[in-house]
Amino acid sequence: MLKRHPEPFLWLLFSAGGVAGALLIPIVLVLFALAFPLGWLPAPEYGRLSALVAHPLTRLALFVACALSLVHAGHRLRYTLYDGLQIQHLNEIIAIGCYGGALVGTIAAAYVLLTV
C-alpha cells in the first residue's frame, strides 16, 4: 500500500484558509479595529450583534473561517521559519509547534463559539 503523506492535505487547508482570510479579515478589521472604536462609523447596536452571534449559521461560518485561517497561518509560519531562519534541523519541533498552535486555537474558537 502506498504510504500516505499529510502534505497535500495540509496545502489544501492552507489554500482554503488563505482564501477565507483574504476575503473576510480585511473588512472585519476595518470595521471592528478602526471604524467602530474610533467613531468613524456608529458601532452596531448590541442587540443586533448578539442576535447575529446567536444564530447557528453565523457561529458555524465563524468557526470554519477561524479554523481554516489558523491552519493557514500555522502552515505558512512553519515554512517561513524553515526558509527564513535556516533552522532545518528543528523541523519537527517547528511543525509540532505550528500545527499544535493552530489546533489549540481551533479548540479555543470552538469553545468560545459554543459558549457564547
Partner: protein, 137 residues
C-alpha cells in the same frame, strides 16, 4: 587549526556557502516574500481579536462597550493597523497569484488569468459588502 590542509583525490569536499539568517534583506523581492509569509502571524492575531469580540458580545452589552474602548487604546490600534497592512498585502498577493494556481477552461479554451484574478477581487468586494450589510444594513 594548525593541521595542514590536504586535498585527497576522489574525496570531494563540501562546497556549500553558509546562508546568512538575513539573506532575505538582500533584495526587495526577497523582503516582499518574507513580508507576505510573516502575514501569517497577523492572520492568527486577527482570529484572536475576532474571538475576543465574540466573547465580549456573549458576556453582555457592558463587555461589548469595554471591548470597543480597549480596541481604541493606542497599543491595540497600532497592532491592528500593522495587522491590517500585512493582511491586505496577503490578500492582494493571494488574489494576484490565483491565476497561477487555478486554470479554468471554458469551451476548450483557457480562461485568461486576469479574469481569474478579477473574479477573486469581485468575491472580496461581495464578501465585504455582505459583512458590512449584516452589521450595519
Amino acid at each position: 587549526m594548525g593541521e595542514p590542509f590536504h586535498y585527497t583525490d576522489y574525496h570531494p569536499q563540501w562546497l556549500r556557502p553558509k546562508m546568512s539568517t538575513y539573506w532575505w534583506l538582500q533584495r526587495r523581492s526577497y523582503v516582499a516574500f518574507i513580508a507576505r509569509e510573516v502575514s501569517s502571524v497577523f492572520v492568527a492575531w486577527a482570529v484572536a481579536f475576532l474571538l475576543m469580540l465574540v466573547r465580549a458580545i456573549g458576556q453582555g452589552e457592558e463587555a461589548y462597550g469595554q471591548f470597543l474602548v480597549w480596541a481604541a487604546t493606542p497599543l491595540v490600534l497600532l497592532v491592528n493597523v500593522v495587522s491590517l497592512v500585512f493582511i491586505v498585502f496577503h490578500a492582494v498577493t493571494w488574489f494576484n497569484l490565483a491565476p497561477a494556481a487555478l486554470v479554468v477552461h471554458v469551451g476548450g479554451r483557457k480562461l485568461p488569468g486576469f479574469l481569474i484574478a478579477a473574479s477573486n477581487y469581485a468575491a472580496f468586494v461581495f464578501a465585504s459588502a455582505l459583512i458590512a450589510w449584516l452589521l450595519l444594513g
